[in-house]
């Protein structure tokens, strides 16, 4: 019995995968993630049995942590995929090709997590599908839901080309996507992404009298769109750096240098629409007096612009890492600000432990799905575990030489 088991395992899993499972660091990582996901699952159980009274949400703050971080920020951080795919497939910037797969994967996971969070957040999770069959053509929220649904399908089409190449899971039954269809999926995806990445901010246009003039501007959609692109691409850089460290693969310097330029462009766009408008409308004193808005501007635009334009930090991994974390933090802070800080009300909102627990659980689920996906699918094409033949090829001459020496 004990002897047959490993054999069976070896049959099912490719030897490479078996090596990975034994990996101690990976085991610890997966255990931590599983525990945190367990916490989240318990939180979701409490939410479904006791209703939303377990949250700190109230009539003054109808939306809170889940909508701002788990839905809005998560979807914004998935924006890197549509930019990179459009640049490669339509503008033929081949240097970015290596970034397509990781960004499509992270976008797909981000949209799945965003949808789960949305279903947990709404009052009737059992009829979430009503949003798809009962349209309100006046509602920006409805438009967002439709755009996100179709875009997720586009992402699945893009991801299916990666899935088909998996060595460990049988996905050959997926029809091969012709190049023309892929290009259409990328184009439709880019247009729908622009529509919902800006539209998610557009949701707040109608709340004119409910949110502070510091945050309500006609340009909320532009701010959302530009910060989502900058933050999403920031996450692509973050991913590349982390995966190059963990998987010990070379960093795609050429690709990152192009991405950095695009981020700087969109960060400047963000800074212009954010700060310039605020200074004219409200005055610089009031703008500087609010540390939240200052933090948003610093993290989303000023810090990354500086770090990306100064050659010393741009060519330094630490510099890139700090800038990309700042961009991601900026997206999170700006979403939190619009959803929570901007509300004109006497009440205060601070999430409960259950809300935080579910958020932590969802973040852990994101990381778990990502870890699993890069093990199962060829997301990083350069990842190669040293195969015996390759070692042999290199070492045969020296081994032969050694053998000859011994025989002599």
């Amino acid at each position: 019995m004990s002897e047959t088991k490993p054999e069976a395992l070896e049959e099912i899993l490719a030897p490479e995968l078996k090596i990975r499972i034994v990996n101690r660091k990976l085991a610890i990582w997966l255990t931590i993630l599983s525990i945190l996901i367990g916490v989240g699952v318990y939180g979701v159980y409490l939410r479904f049995t006791r209703g939303l009274s377990i949250t700190a949400l109230s009539n003054e703050y109808p939306w809170g942590l889940w909508i701002s971080i788990d839905v809005l920020a998560t979807i914004a951080l998935g924006a890197g995929a549509f930019v990179i795919a459009a640049l490669v497939y339509c503008f033929r910037i081949h240097e970015l090709e290596s970034l397509i797969r990781p960004s499509v994967l992270s976008a797909l996971i981000a949209y799945i997590i965003g949808t789960i969070a949305l279903i947990v957040d709404i009052g009737r999770p059992d009829r979430f599908w009503v949003t798809l069959i009962s349209p309100n053509h006046h509602s920006i929220m409805w438009e967002n839901v439709i755009c996100i649904t179709i875009y997720t399908m586009c992402l699945l089409v893009e991801f299916s080309t990666i899935a088909r190449e998996s060595k460990y899971v049988e996905f050959k039954w997926i029809p091969k996507i012709p190049q023309s269809l892929l290009v259409i999926a990328v184009m439709v995806g880019a247009i729908l992404s622009t529509m919902h990445q800006s539209g998610l901010g557009g949701v707040y246009l109608i709340s004119l009298s409910r949110i502070s003039a510091l945050w309500w501007t006609d340009f909320i959609p532009v701010l959302f769109w530009s910060s989502a692109i900058a933050g999403g691409l920031g996450m692509v850089i973050f991913e590349s750096i982390i995966s190059s460290k963990v998987l010990k693969i070379p960093l795609e310097r050429d690709a990152i240098n192009i991405v950095v330029k695009i981020i700087v462009f969109f960060s400047i766009l963000y800074l212009y629409f954010r700060a310039a408008e605020l200074i004219f409308k409200i005055g610089i004193e009031q703008m500087l007096a609010n540390y939240l808005i200052l933090m948003e501007i610093l993290l989303c635009s000023i810090i990354p612009i500086f770090l990306f334009t100064i050659p010393q930090t741009r060519n330094n991994i630490m510099g890139l890492l700090v800038a990309s974390i700042s961009l991601m933090g900026g997206v999170i802070v700006s979403r939190w600000n619009l959803v929570v800080s901007s509300m004109i009300t006497s009440g205060i909102y601070w999430p409960t432990w259950i809300e935080v627990g579910i958020t932590v659980g969802l973040i852990s689920l994101t990381l778990l799905l990502y870890t699993a996906a890069i093990k199962l699918f060829p997301v990083y094409p350069t990842v190669r575990i040293p195969v015996p033949e390759v070692i042999a090829e290199k070492e045969v001459p020296s081994l032969l030489k050694e053998a000859r020496d011994i025989s002599h």
Binding site: A86, I140, V145
Partner: protein, 283 residues
């Protein structure tokens, strides 16, 4: 697809969307003539009869015994209540309920179209459609829709202007029980005339009917002898809030689609041609 089809597609799609939104705007302009209520703050004595009548009419649970009625905020089981405001050592009582806007933000916002402005003037929630996304709560300038926070499967609830009574030709419960006739029920147009008649016949009134032009007009109107800001009424723009969203669908969405198709399609076709001229294989 040849070049001509491409241009046809890129222009037809956005322009048809723009056209449909223009047509929609024309349809909605007739909604201003419905029923409403005129609430005279000077007549209200804060007895709370309207609160009780509302609870009875809508079969709402009374689980808040032991708490003074005046301290109860609106909730999914309290559709209306009278709030005490102290202004310069004078007490005023303000009955708060849904304003039943002519062009309601909640109706434009609702993701699934569960909120409806009916021809009677009432804004109602379709309980079989609402998914509980709470966007109406974020959109409403008067903070009226309330969520059933303590329910497992929860939706949004609010005052319906006693829609079922209106259909039977009876006035709303709160208006029918008011002992001081602080609530006048009728057609909005007539109520507006009545409001200005009272204002012009008596010096004490503030020369403003709250709800006449706020967010494009509301079916519930207020008159008072104390400035409305001091009574806690929000200061609101005179245009309807959904008009902002209309602009989004009329201009932003068609431009995003047009620019997107032209830019991405153009770049793709340009690069393909470039490669073909060079004789390279384009994949």
């Amino acid at each position: 697809m040849n070049r001509r089809d491409f241009f046809k597609l890129s222009f037809f799609l956005p322009s048809s969307m723009a056209l449909s939104s223009v047509l929609r705007a024309e349809e909605d302009s007739s909604a201003a003539d419905g029923y409403g209520m005129l609430i005279d703050v000077t007549r209200c004595i804060g007895c709370g009869s309207c609160y009780v009548a509302c609870k009875l009419e809508n079969n709402l649970p009374v689980k808040d015994e032991g708490v003074p009625r005046a301290s109860l905020d609106l909730s999914s089981t309290v559709f209306t209540n009278v709030f005490t405001r102290k202004v310069d050592n004078k007490y005023r009582f303000v009955k708060i309920q849904c304003m039943h806007c002519i062009d309601p933000a909640c109706v434009a916002a609702c993701t699934v179209g569960a909120m409806k402005k009916t021809s009677t003037g009432a804004v109602i929630v379709d309980e079989s459609k609402c998914v509980g996304c709470r966007y109406c709560m974020v959109a409403c300038p008067f903070k009226i829709p309330r969520f059933q926070w303590d329910k497992q499967l929860a939706i949004v609830a609010k005052c319906t202007l006693c829609f079922s009574r209106l259909e039977r030709g009876i006035q709303p419960a709160c208006a029918s029980v008011c002992p001081t006739r602080a609530i006048t029920f009728g057609k909005r147009k007539e109520l507006l005339e009545e409001a200005w008649r009272r204002i012009s016949s008596n010096e004490k009134y503030v020369k403003h009917v709250y709800g006449e032009s706020e967010v494009g007009g509301t079916s519930v109107l207020y008159i008072s002898d104390v400035p409305f800001e001091l009574l806690g009424f929000p200061k609101l723009p005179e245009y309807s809030l959904p008009s902002i969203t209309e602009n989004w669908f009329k201009y932003a969405v068609p431009s995003i689609i047009t620019i997107g198709v032209l830019l991405l399609g153009g770049a793709y076709l340009y690069n393909r041609r470039l490669h073909r001229e060079r004789g390279e294989i384009y994949e």
